[in-house]
């Protein structure tokens, strides 16, 4: 990268960051000041600024940034927390639906309520099942990479 390119990239980076900051300011103005007309512009600036920052970093020389290493080292724990947090509210919702199902069936629309309970049960099962599978997959991903040459692996396969 030439000096001019580096300078240009630096300027784009500043412009992108400024777009994000300005976008956030517009969103605050929209929601706290009631000026909803500017919300779309705020969202647009945040999106464009984010894309700009990402593209500029992505096209730059690969760097093993410390924060990336931190994320990488804790990816299993982070993944499991994320899985738990994403599933917990729907589990609560569907479990609550099943708990109140008898009461709901007594309110005159028992057939529909029963159907609702059944759908809730299926969705609960799908959510919990996916959570379990995802946690297993994330734990498995933490296994150390198997050493060995592809030829050895290939010959074993053969």
């Amino acid at each position: 990268m030439t000096k001019d390119d580096a300078m240009l990239t630096g300027r784009y980076r500043i412009a992108s960051a400024a777009a994000v900051v300005l976008g956030i300011a517009l969103i605050l103005l929209s929601e706290l000041g009631g000026v909803h007309e500017v919300r779309v512009f705020g969202a647009g600036l945040i999106s464009l600024g984010g894309i700009g920052l990402g593209v500029l970093a992505g096209l730059d020389q690969p760097r093993r940034a410390e924060w990336l290493a931190w994320v990488r080292d804790r990816r299993v724990a982070l993944g499991m927390i994320a899985a738990l947090v994403s599933v917990a509210p729907v589990v609560v919702a569907f479990a609550a639906a099943l708990v109140v199902l008898p009461a709901a069936m007594g309110e005159g629309r028992s057939g529909m309520a029963l159907l609702g309970g059944l759908i809730a049960l299926l969705m609960l099962m799908a959510s919990v099942g996916c959570f379990v599978l995802a946690v297993r997959a994330i734990r498995r991903a933490a296994r150390p990479v198997t050493p060995g040459s592809p030829a050895e692996a290939g010959e074993e396969a053969a």
């Binding site: 990402g54 990488r72 639906a97 529909m112 609702g116 297993r136 991903a141 592809p150």
Partner: protein, 718 residues
Amino acid sequence: MIPTREILWNITALGPILLYTLMAIPFVFLAYGLARRVRMWRQGQPENRFDQLGRRLWHAILMTVLHGRIVRRRNRFGGLMHLAIFVGFVTLFIGTVIVMIEADITVPIFGVSFYRGDFYLVYKAVMNLAGLLLIGGSLAALYRRYVRRPATLETTGDDVVILAFLVVLGVQGFAVQALRMAVTDDPWGPWSFVSYPMALTLSALPESWLRAIHVANWYIHFLTNFVFLSYVAYSKMIHPFTSFANVLFRRLKPVGALDPIENIEEAEVFGAGKLEDFTWAQLLNVDACMHCGRCLEYCPTFSTGKPLRPRDVVLELAGYMADRGGIFSGELGQGENSARYRWGAGPDRALIPDVVSPAELWDCTTCGACMAQCPVYIEHVPLIVGMRRHLVLEQGEFPEEVTSVFTNLERLGSPYQFPPNQRAAWTKRLDQPVPEMAEVAARGEEVEILFWVGCLGSFDSRNQRTTVALARILQAAGIKFAILGKEESCTGDPARRIGNEYLAQMMAMQAVETLNTYNVKKVVTACPHCFNAIKNEFPQIGGNYEVIHHSQLINQLIAEGRITLDPNSALARGAVTYHDPCYLGRYNGEYDAPREALAALPGLELREMRRNRNTSFCCGGGGGRLFMEETRGTRINQARVREAIDTGAELLAAACPFCMTMFEDGIHGVGAEESFKVLDIAEIVAGSMITPNGADGAKEHGAAESEGAAPESAERPE
């Protein structure tokens, strides 16, 4: 009362503030990952793939958005499953954008609302259907991976995490809707046919509870979406971008033509010995793989337990590229029962043999089954041949058996140790003489067609019978033809596929020079490898001819009534199965002519093998494998012969000398010599032909010789 709903119901100002502010994060992650990939692709060599953009764009839409290659008869479950996920996801995305347009543009800026009335009702129903498709498709994918477990599919952590994300996102959407409707008692609720029954059930809960659970679900739903979007660029979920790009920038040249090394005399790099030696489009190729395993379904090496699995070669390259490119995805891509993906194992390994092994490279038959099946047009064969070129031309490493092939090609112009002046020895078996082009030219005459005999057809005793049969057909039809005789040489096909591009170009240039000397316009050949080389690769060096395969010509002669077939011929009875040669079928799209020629014999009953036409299973002889020992796994030719025998046919019809050689060996290998035989289409037709002199064609061709008559000519070439 007009049907509509309150957008951001039960959400305070904090909701949109967080929603829009945090939106920067997934955009940064997504853009970073995509840019990182583009940067990786740009490490490759330049290549122009920006021509014919309209055609490219339409094809990319057809093949990816419209699922042209994804939903196929043989992959109906997987294809429809993918279609359901795709339609569900895209519809829900569009639905979200519609709500944003209403809430952020049309209402606040123009004071106009379109999210109401009939549109709103239909929208609700469509979104519910899309949610069902998304969840159903994702669950079907999990079922396929955990219950059906096709042998070609390997489940990685990444696959599971993505599917779990999709299911949970869909479920969250329904939960948020049901919780809202449970409180608002939405009169148009039944249009949300999935959420509505749940809303009725949930309505038994106290309102404060419903509101609290709704808020929690709303926030977690958008945060899950953001985490998912952030994950996209570092996982297989990048495939909507990479697949589309890969199909958009796919190679438009004939699939049978390998790209030559340009200006080879002055080239400094031969083939691909490191990642940067591939073109940028090839690097995009390997990045586009989503390890669906379709390339393995008809792969002869995978089916016979050899080290080469085309998918794994691509993934090994992709993992290596990700390591070197600084993308920190990888470990989630490690297969559950395979040590073959060493993603994240470090960028400092050598491409060959650390990332891709020579065994993998040498096992490929270049049959193209992988490329024909790949839904995103990954071209495995050029990748493999590129690495072979490096091994042969830069490292001098190749299977020992190939040494004599190279030597013979250089010295004698054919892979075999026969002098060129024996090329026309087979003509002595014909009653009528076959002129050579030199004689024809000397007489100042012209011929209608040049018969390119090929090396196997010239020297191999078994394939000479096909050559003789074809010559008899041409003579019977009254076609004025000639051969090159001792002036014919190899087209360079085996050398090129083995990776000796230098020798291949030398052979090809010699052949083109000879053909151009005689101003040849039309060529017929019984060898699909020669056919492919002359038709698709000779134009690269100025050789432009009309090339037809002998099965096409025979079919045409039958249709025109220029040869007459005897329906009572000994060869025209019983069940026959036809094997599609890879270089005729998959590479050049000719499936019908050989079948139609066989169908002209009403006594023959054509039975198809399980794998036929573009899913045909290779004989094992392509890519130079004819000249190499098959030391790993079981034998490909025997697998194919068994498949042919399983049809109940007694006769295997071939249309390629490579296949003929492999099947003769295969029939011996499975011990079926007594009950099963292989004949070329030309032999079957010539053997069933009513000849002008009344000779018994069947005896002259397949029938007599298959009953044990000794071959008349040279021994099998070594």
